[in-house]
């Protein structure tokens, strides 16, 4: 039975703020879903891992910058909730001042 504390831990990892009522409700829902997916523990998994033709493989390209138009750049920057000129603005996240 998943606990509220575990839900809080998950919410913290996932950066989602939940209210207490939701946390309670989620324990039941998540339990029933986990019970369902736990079926997978019954599957036998000794297999010969031969590659399937056409299976996905890594594609590489050279790490060079391809430029985009200034118009496209504007579109992208415009989507930022807080923009300062050519920059996307964020709140300060470092608490201390490192004045050595």
């Amino acid at each position: 039975m998943i606990t509220v504390k575990e839900i809080e831990n998950l919410a913290n990892l996932a950066r989602i703020k939940l209210d207490n009522e939701e946390k309670e409700g989620l324990t039941k829902e998540i339990d029933s879903i986990l019970t369902y997916i736990d079926q997978i523990k019954k599957a036998t998994v000794d297999i010969d891992y031969t590659p399937i033709p056409g299976a996905v493989s890594n594609i590489f390209r050279n790490d060079i910058i391809e430029s985009i138009s200034s118009e496209d750049r504007e579109r992208i920057l415009n989507e930022a909730p807080d923009r300062e000129g050519e920059f996307i603005a964020v709140k300060k996240i470092i608490a201390q001042d490192f004045d050595e």
Partner: protein
């Protein structure tokens, strides 16, 4: 403009529209106007469209120009509805979520780029379950979509808006996305054709990612020919999507005789399957036998794990994909008490219930101590299930099941029982797990409470063998 009254939208196909444009029976503007009229009559109640693009007529005018100067192609001027998860540059795309309520796409999806080249008309963006999580379009932040066959019922999901638009003649063709059945299931519940192509056949560049190893873009249409035309236009290897395949990646040989049908009878016996669905399925098989098809029983010994495998992978990949919504670079921003708290508050209010639940489950599955028992194990079993299918494809050429376990359910019926909702996908998830192409074709109706509710037949083929799906589907529907 008086010509629009002679356009029979009910029987219209891509080819018919194209011929009419060429002969001058009506113009692209006429046809777009006809659909816009249907939308203004029906969309308020059905809620298939979240937005009708105000430049639809402009697009139609451009299409007409191409008929004048001789550069028109088969898809020029054809009105499309696009699921709200596929990016059209400059247009809003929300994935039916509040967290992207005002987001404007900054680039075209590859499929959109290809369709723009043909000169299609994008009528608008359609409703869906938020971030493609669901099976009914009830998880939309913008209200549910209603099934045109019975307005008290769901159209299916997550591409419910797309399916409902085609079914109610608010578009000729629609694009949807399919992660666990989200093109095929709503197509079935709304009496349409829905195709999930081979994984990698259609580029996912510009499709907002739900679960990247499971996502596919596919067409929802009224008939097989239209699905085939759209598929042939949107497919192709794409340098911007490293998972796309080449034409010859899967060397599918032309089957020199009638394809042999395989049925996993052992999987169709449970009492989770509606009696009308089973009867209709058996009737469809009889129809194939009369058409000269051989039918064999096949065994898929691990198929009962498909749903749990699917949801483990889905939750894990979705939680990872949705971490991009950080309230900083795009989308909703709500203030918390500091920079980090901004993330928590924004994501807490911006995501809907099902999205939050799946992110938490995905986080659980991927956390240390569980990663091996769930995610790694699921991937191994996924491979086993795929091998089971490939083994049976040595004996048969296509595998058939019903698309859904039951006809459309009532709005509100399953929304508070997540596991019951997940069971809707029981027949469709396998094709997303294996990557094999699968199509749902309208196979009949189930009469419930005086309404005829559509049913679908699902056909799965070998990797890369969409051609057989089209051939068999056309024969079944008499196209």
């Amino acid at each position: 403009m008086n010509n629009i009254y002679m356009i029979d939208l009910k029987t219209l196909t891509i080819k018919k529209a194209h011929e009419a444009f060429k002969k001058g029976d009506y113009t692209c503007v006429d046809l777009t106007q006809a659909y816009l009229n249907e939308i203004s009559k029906k969309n308020k109640e059905i809620n298939a469209y979240l937005e009708v693009f105000d430049d639809a007529m402009e697009q139609a005018k451009e299409a007409d120009k191409r008929f004048e100067d001789g550069t028109a192609t088969l898809l020029t001027g054809i009105p499309f509805a696009i699921k709200d998860i596929i990016l059209i540059k400059g247009c809003i795309a929300t994935a039916a979520s509040k967290i992207l309520e005002n987001y404007r796409a900054t680039y075209d999806a590859t499929v959109i780029e290809k369709l723009k080249k043909e000169g299609v008309v994008f009528l608008g963006r359609t409703n869906m379950d938020e971030f493609a999580f669901g099976s009914s379009t009830e998880n939309s932040a913008y209200g549910p979509t209603r099934n045109p066959y019975d307005m008290s019922r769901v159209p299916g999901g997550t591409s419910g808006g797309s399916a409902a638009s085609v079914a109610s003649m608010m578009s000729l063709v629609a694009l949807g996305s399919d992660t666990g059945g989200s093109v095929r299931q709503p197509a079935a519940l709304c009496g349409n054709v829905g195709l999930k192509p081979t994984y990698g056949a259609v580029s996912r560049y510009g499709l907002m990612a739900a679960a990247s190893s499971l996502d596919h873009i596919g067409p929802i249409t009224k008939n097989i020919s239209d699905a085939e035309i759209v598929f042939n236009t949107i497919k192709g290897q794409d340098i911007k999507d490293g998972t796309t395949i080449k034409e010859d990646t899967y060397k599918t040989k032309r089957i020199g005789r009638k394809p042999i049908i395989g049925i996993p009878r052992h999987f169709l016996g449970g009492d989770g399957i509606h009696k009308d669905v089973l009867k209709n399925f058996n009737d469809s098989i009889e129809k194939f036998k009369k058409l000269g098809y051989e039918v064999k029983d096949i065994n898929l010994p691990n198929i009962s794990y498909s749903l749990s495998v699917f949801y483990i992978i889905n939750f894990a990949e979705a939680s990872s994909n949705l971490s991009r919504f950080d309230s900083v670079r795009f989308g909703l921003h709500k203030d918390g008490k500091d920079g980090i708290d901004d993330f928590f508050v924004t994501r807490g209010v911006g995501f809907g219930k099902e999205a939050r639940r799946r992110i938490l489950l995905g986080t659980y599955i991927l956390s240390s101590g569980y990663y091996d028992a769930y995610y790694n194990r699921a991937n191994v079993v996924r491979r086993i299930i795929t091998q089971d299918f490939m083994k049976e494809f040595e004996k048969v050429d296509i595998i058939m099941t019903p698309t859904t376990p039951a006809p459309a359910f009532k709005i509100g019926e399953k929304v508070s029982d997540p596991v019951a909702m997940y069971l809707e996908d029981i027949f469709t998830v396998t094709a997303d797990l294996t990557g094999m192409p699968a199509i749902s074709i309208p196979s009949g109706f189930s009469k419930i409470e005086g309404k005829d509710l559509p049913l679908g037949l699902q056909i799965t083929a070998r990797h890369g063998d969409e051609r057989t799906l089209f051939e068999v589907g056309k024969e079944f529907l008499g196209e």
